[in-house]
């Protein structure tokens, strides 16, 4: 648990930089839109602690303007 997906809005003109920043963080995958300044962010953490720590990392990104959550999946690691 959990796998979540978000819409990530970059600061104007910083989509590429935000993509690089997101890809450098563990537990994150990011997919950029090709004609709009927007990225899809998918996070995959093993427990609540990892999720909380990831949240702090995401909040500190300078090129991230706004993050809107879309989906969450309760997927056990060892079941």
């Amino acid at each position: 648990m959990p796998i979540t997906s978000y819409l990530a809005h970059p600061v104007e003109g910083q989509q590429q930089k935000l993509l690089e920043e997101l890809l450098s963080i563990s537990h994150c995958e990011a997919l950029p839109a090709v004609n709009t300044e927007l990225l899809i962010l998918i996070t995959d953490t093993r427990n609540a602690g990892e999720e909380a720590s990831l949240k702090i990392q995401l909040e500190s990104l300078e090129n991230l303007k706004h993050l809107a959550m879309v989906a969450g999946f309760q997927t056990p690691i060892n079941s």
């Binding site: 959990p2 796998i3 979540t4 997906s5 978000y6 819409l7 809005h9 995958e29 997919l31 950029p32 839109a33 090709v34 004609n35 709009t36 927007l38 899809i40 962010l41 998918i42 995959d44 609540a48 602690g49 999720e51 909380a52 949240k55 303007k65 706004h66 809107a68 959550m69 879309v70 989906a71 969450g72 999946f73 309760q74 997927t75 690691i77 060892n78 079941s79």
Partner: protein, 775 residues
Amino acid sequence: MGNLNASRRNFVKKMAALSAMTTATALFPGILFAETQRNNASTTGTLDWKKAPCRFCGVGCGVLIGIENGKAVAVKGDPNSPVNKGLCCVKGYHSIIALYGKDRLTHPLVKKNGSYVQTTMQEALDLIASKMQKTITDYGKDAVSIYGSGQWTIPDGYVASKLFKGCIGTNNVEANARLCMASAVTGFLTSFGLDEPMGCYEDIDHADIFVLWGNNMAEMHPVLFSRLLDQRLKRGAKIIDLTTRTTRTSKAADNSILFRPQTDLALANAICYELVKKGWVHRSFVEKHCSFRKGLTDMGYGLEDNYQFKDRPKKINYKDYQQFLEGYAPEKVTQLTGVSEKDIRYLATCYGDPNKKVMSFWCMGMNQHTRGTWINNLVYNIHLLTGKISTPGNSPFSLTGQPSACGTVREVGTLTHKLPHGVVMNKTHREHAAKIWGVPVENIPSKPTYHTVEMFRALDRGDIRFMWIQVTNPMVTMPKLKRYRDAAKKEQRFIVVSDVYPTPTTDIADVILPSAMWIEREGLYGNSERRTQYFEQMIPAPGEAMSDTWQMIEVAKRMGFEKQFSYQKETHIEEIYKEYTRHHEGKKHAMPPLSILKSQAGAQWPFVNGKSTQWRFNAQYDSACSNGEAFHFYGKPDGKAVIWQRPYEPAPEVPDKEFDFWLCTGRVLEHWHTGSMTRRIPVLHKAMPKAYVEVHPKDAKRLQIQTGDLVLLTSRRGTIQLPASVNERGIPEMGQVFVPFFDEDMLINELTLDAFCPISKQPDYKKCAVKVQKA
């Protein structure tokens, strides 16, 4: 096995990506992703996705629940929902975890010799019915009561009203929505003669300016706030935050304007003064569609038992109103409000500019107010004076905090004075209800009994002896809590509590009934924009847990009302909804048929000729308009909305030498209401494990308080101890503190005052006086 797990996890990730792409497509038509990415996002799988409105706040987001092997395992925003367009907030996406807390109530418990003993559902329901009957025999029908909630589904509230008002014959029906939106109701009724917003969320896509009146939307209504931010990104819309405390909303807004507690009344009048002075009044709209009234003033605050108030409105004219506003010139109110003359004029410009469309949003800041009805009236005044109402993008919009505060409490009418259609005081309305319920009209008393605060006072006095509490937690939420907790524990009182988890309210129960939660039963909710939404039963309820609807039907049958409650178990929700819609027939409030609600993400009443009505009172959209004009405020006999002359009056308790701080209470992003569900979601609990008191950094320095230090808060009602929060999430102004109410281990309502708005009877949780000391 490891490979299988990895493959399943990859598959789930693809589904998560696809959900986000679908939502992005809904929000940004024409958006493209690289083909390889789209191909990677699989659309097939073993999850069975079913739609529902979210369990938590009043926004009413559409969510899709992924069911696998009889268990809810995933949540995503429903891209087909016009409410959230696929978005989902942190509470919504964790909502299913709240179904599976370790301490779910699964079997009835009966208190015997001070301890709870497990019993069967049949025995518990027998006991409840016999206790109710004995109480009626011994003390009269007004000695029994039911206290429900804006989390009641529509069928729950409907059977409660039918049983108590129609069959037993008492108006002792109330709901916790009295504590959260009663002032919005009386605001609508006094200004327009009909309840609930005239506009809808689609207004967000048209408005140029959003003015948030004491409304921390970023934390309380995050999905709608995301829609506001989205409009700012796309169209440059502005967000103005009017607030008493700096919040996450303030930080995200274009302009945050701080005002002193209670002075929103003066601020709104000052905006109206400027509109008149600058010639920004839409004269032809006002002449055709508005009348002017003033009511009684100096009404008191309801602090004494059996307090009564009835307003006596008087007609006034535009000149009288103009003269009244002279007392609210910006230079006269700047000191009182703490808002600069420049900011007051800026706000008036925002509303007055004929080329800008404006939405006003509010929630508890305006409603939990000892002059809550007045401040609602005053914000409507601004929109009426400028004619910025009932058109796309021009919309005064009162938000709600619970999933069915509108659908159940306001529309079904689970308040002492209400019926599903109309009020108990009106003979025609009583006859209409009695006919549909199949009861003699004499059964329904013509006088309201107790509003919520007075109902708990009546329990204390012994006027009420039996209370059934469903889906709510009053032993955390009642103001001046100690009096009402002690009342519930008195001898010769019998309390039944239906809930899904143990709470401080189940602690005072004589019988605890385990309830089926949300998608463990079938039901309907109604959200803030008049949207009714249906959800099916998706998973089984645990143990003997039963829906609140069926609990009441079983008790009604045991009390001899088999005829009125002859619903079949398999079809009862459909039967009840069909019966309920008969109350609202007609163009002003026609409800959508269940078949429509099953097929789409809800529909908005009035639902006429197969269509939802998005903007009421506007002849272009609302078929109930019949005066031949562009607008028709048909809730009032003369077809005109009322502009009210309402003055500023102070709060009942203000800081003084001994209790020198204002106390404001509220919610936080992670927890919903009293936290009885969200505190059982580990990630949310971990993110916000306990309550705290926010103190301004300068006050903290003076009192030598740092974040984490224990602080004693004392009011005239009690003392509690909490850790301090300085310069963190929210920052109150100097001389003010803020405490969230979600934490049952730190009950802030031990300190609050049970003063209420004399018209709406809604308590004020935002203002009382406290002393702050380092522990």
